[in-house]
């Protein structure tokens, strides 16, 4: 089966610029996750969608981060404006359902903010 697709693979921007990441989950997976992985740390959940609804966005910095999954399939994560501390790998994952224990991860987008 096709895996979780993410683009771009790498992105370099200057602080205060905007950036967007795209994710296409595995077909049929209702739950989609965005994680932030800072170098030397484990992934941290930013937002979780169930179909096109938000289940958990308690750790999303809403003053600068936004995400949508309008048709319940692919998703976009945006940062506006970016800060230096946003430099990280942004991972998208999907699972069959919200309590399904097996997450499938994409390769991630590595963001460098200069």
């Amino acid at each position: 089966e096709a895996g979780v697709a993410q683009s771009p693979r790498y992105k370099i921007i200057e602080k205060r610029q905007s950036v967007a990441f795209w994710c296409n989950p595995i077909s049929g997976h209702a739950t989609l996750y965005w994680y932030q992985q800072i170098l030397g740390q484990g992934p941290k959940l930013l937002i979780q969608f169930q179909n096109n609804g938000v289940v958990d966005d308690s750790q999303l910095p809403k003053d600068r981060f936004s995400a949508e999954r309008l048709k319940g399939v692919d998703s976009t994560l945006k940062i506006q404006p970016a800060k230096l501390e946003d430099s990280a790998v942004y991972l998208c994952a999907s699972s069959l359902g919200p309590t399904n224990e097996k997450l499938f991860f994409g390769s991630g987008t590595q963001l460098s903010v200069l």
């Binding site: 030397g40 484990g42 289940v55 958990d56 097996k102 994409g106």
Partner: protein, 114 residues
Amino acid sequence: AQSVAQPEDQVNVAEGNPLTVKCTYSVSGNPYLFWYVQYPNRGLQFLLKYITGDNLVKGSYGFEAEFNKSQTSFHLKKPSALVSDSALYFCAVRDQGGNNRLAFGKGNQVVVIP
């Protein structure tokens, strides 16, 4: 809130020797426990999980993990390490009685020396 500790930064082991990667967890209720592996430039891949039942769980690539409730540990083990096992290993926990959020540890770099 649920959390995971992976005390070692890097684990070095000679090829053919037993491999152990340590993990301790903290949850308010009963835990769901997971191990994921990340190879260079790849997304995280599911290795194994503990939900309930037998304390020794077997997973992919010959890995197994033992759930120890009294020590709140879930150490990952492999009887005979391969060079190809060199990767970053993440332990994760979810609180059965709480939110569905999966909390990851910081990860352990495993280096298998030929």
